[in-house]
């Protein structure tokens, strides 16, 4: 799209970048907002079914789908309260920090080939890092509310999130290791073809890894049974006890946004991202070219599949929330350090050996469609050896290319 604006329309590069960024932001914010609306409705319906009742039906529309909208209206019109002893600046800022962190992580999450806010080659890492920042919103909210319930919630959150980042990171490393890249687009594309190419079916270790990943993901977005930070039966409402109105709803937008984010991350890392179980677009020949309408349609199909898979994972999270009882804080920490982390470490080691020994993977079971054999190991090659064009920029070539661009000879800075 930058190309389009820059080359075809002739806009200045900086302006082109700005326009592209704005468009991407707009799309993403809408996605999060609409997603939150949908997920809140979904949660109500699912919990209703699980508790053997219908869920919202009264307010408008079939199946009560306007319920969330009505909630939103109510929240907007509510009075914005602040406790007396609160730290006003931090109290006001906290929800936005939370939301910003959740939103920023979406920047690097690809929805299909090339359909990503920022094509970052450390995307997986970036998503994890930014997701970790969400905790600051919670902590600051807890502190600045001047309420002991909030403070307790924030403390638990801090301990929990710092702990769960370790196994979560290890689990993310596993697909990264197989792909040889942290670029989420590349990881997704390496799983193109039939579903046997998905990394969850790559080998037994990755299969286990996914479940550990999912557990840690649930914990890191504070969903039940790990929702210690808000534990309504003990802490009233935890860190957001004192919040109301729109600020309160921002926390919830952030929570549902994060849920979708980790589900999307899991989908890209383990379920082939936008590459469906059956490579419809490949079979129809739509994705043969890398531009044009056919490719756009293929990408659209892929994105639909990606969102569908992510929503399924979100649904599983909702299902878990209404099924399992909340853990105690010590149980949460024990689960992390005594179970998730060692299992993740073992799985990581196992995958290392699986890759290093060249044992056949799940992808070897089915014909590889849209992926050359052995492509999954290309990232393992030394960069200079793998790509001759890059190799030109080695130390020797470096000086050669650099010399002509130098207008004057290098001088010692001390002489000036």
């Amino acid at each position: 799209m930058t190309n389009l604006l820059y080359f075809q329309l002739g806009l200045p590069l900086a302006l082109a970048h700005v326009i592209v960024a704005l468009v991407a932001c707009f799309l993403l914010i809408n996605l999060i907002a609409v997603g939150a609306l949908f997920f809140i409705w979904l949660e109500r319906k699912v919990s209703g079914r699980i508790q053997d009742r219908l869920g919202p039906t009264r307010v408008g529309g079939k199946f009560g789908w306007l319920q969330t909208l009505a909630d939103g209206l109510k929240l907007i019109t509510k009075e914005d309260l602040m406790p007396k002893g609160a730290d006003a600046l931090l109290f006001r800022l906290a929800p936005y920090i939370s939301f910003c962190a959740s939103f920023c992580a979406f920047i690097a999450l690809p929805f299909a080939t090339g359909w990503v806010g920022l094509e970052l080659n450390v995307a997986a890492f970036f998503v994890l890092a930014v997701l970790g920042l969400e905790v600051f919103g919670v902590i600051l909210a807890g502190y600045s509310s001047a309420s002991k319930w909030s403070l307790f919630g924030a403390m638990r959150e801090a301990a929990q999130v710092v702990s769960y980042e370790v196994p979560l990171g290890m689990c993310v490393l596993v697909p990264v290791l197989i792909a040889g890249s942290m670029d989420l687009t590349k990881i997704g594309n390496l799983q193109a073809g039939w579903f046997t190419n998905w990394y969850i079916f790559h080998d037994p270790f990755t299969f286990v890894t996914f479940w550990v990943f999912f557990t840690c993901a649930v914990a890191s977005v504070n969903r039940a049974p790990f929702d210690l930070a808000e534990a309504e039966s003990e802490l009233v409402a935890g860190f957001h006890t004192e919040y109301s109105g729109l600020r309160w709803s921002f926390f919830f937008m952030a929570e549902y946004g994060s849920m979708f984010l980790v589900s999307g991350l899991g989908t890209v890392l383990f379920f082939g991202g936008w590459n469906g179980p059956i490579p419809v677009a490949d079979l129809l020949g739509l994705s043969a070219s890398h531009s044009g309408v056919a490719f756009f349609i293929a990408n659209l199909l892929g994105m639909t599949g990606f969102i569908f898979k992510s929503v399924i994972l979100v649904t599983v999270m909702i299902w878990i929330r209404w099924t399992l009882p909340r853990l105690r804080i010590d149980q949460v920490i024990t689960t992390c350090w005594k179970y998730c982390t060692p299992i993740a470490a073992v799985m990581f080691t196992g995958v290392v050996f699986w890759q290093a020994l060249g044992i056949p993977s799940g992808g070897d079971l089915a014909p590889r469609l849209g992926r050359p054999a052995g492509a999954s190991r290309e990232g393992w090659l030394m960069p200079d050896a793998a790509n001759p064009t890059v190799a030109q920029h080695g130390p020797a070539a470096h000086a050669a290319t650099e010399a002509p661009t130098n207008t004057h000879t290098p001088t010692d800075p001390q002489t000036k």
Binding site: L13, D87, F125, F136
Partner: protein
């Protein structure tokens, strides 16, 4: 004023301003908050300098890990009088004098180094290389060299395989791993609950 310079000034200003805010804030929680913003802006500066991996690392470890720990510590100890401890004016003056002299030494040195940076290709590094590769002007074809991804090369450097631009760092990497382990054990030991010979509590007191 290029786009790159604008971004830099914005982030640099943010980093420095919030660093100053850390110095002048009295409330320790506010200090932590400003520190987060300062360090986050620094991560942005890293991205801007083409160090994408280090930037992500800064976010992950520093902002996401270290500072959470700090804030955690703040909350554990932030009770009443200890939230803000005032420092005497004399000390402020002394610190300002010393800090000012240090700054006076450092800044001119920094300015003398590489006085006329000459890069015509002020593209945004670390992002969307493809578009630059196809750019019509010939200068842009040398661009990927400065902006090519660093993660793989850093990884290879850490496992001791020197590539262009890195040396082998296997030994420091191992040393730092051991160091981390020792630190974790040590921290856990230091912060362990002390077993004091406490008088046995009466049941009713417990309840």
């Amino acid at each position: 004023m290029s786009w790159h310079a604008l971004e830099f000034y914005f982030l640099a200003l943010m980093a420095c301003a919030f660093a100053l805010a850390v110095v002048f804030a009295a409330n320790v929680v506010r200090m932590a908050f400003y520190l987060i913003l300062s360090l986050g802006a620094t991560a942005g500066l890293f991205f801007l300098a083409g160090a994408d991996f280090v930037g992500a690392m800064q976010l992950m470890m520093y902002v996401g890990g270290t500072l959470v720990l700090l804030v955690f510590g703040v909350m554990l100890t932030a009770q009443g009088p200890w939230v803000s401890i005032r420092t005497s004016g004399g000390e402020w003056v002394l610190a300002a004098l010393v800090g000012g002299s240090l700054l006076a030494v450092l800044v001119p040195t920094a300015m003398r180094l590489d006085p006329a940076p000459n890069h015509e290709h002020a593209a945004v590094p670390g992002t969307a290389h493809k578009s630059e590769n196809k750019a019509p002007d010939a200068k842009a074809s040398t661009e990927p060299q400065t902006t090519r991804p660093t993660a793989t090369r850093i990884g290879l450097g850490l496992i001791g395989a020197p590539t262009s631009g890195t040396s082998g760092y296997l030994l420091p990497f191992e040393a730092i791993s051991i160091h981390l382990l020792v630190v974790l054990i040590g921290a856990a030991y230091l912060a362990r609950p002390k077993r004091r010979a406490r008088p046995k509590l009466v049941e009713s007191d417990e309840a």
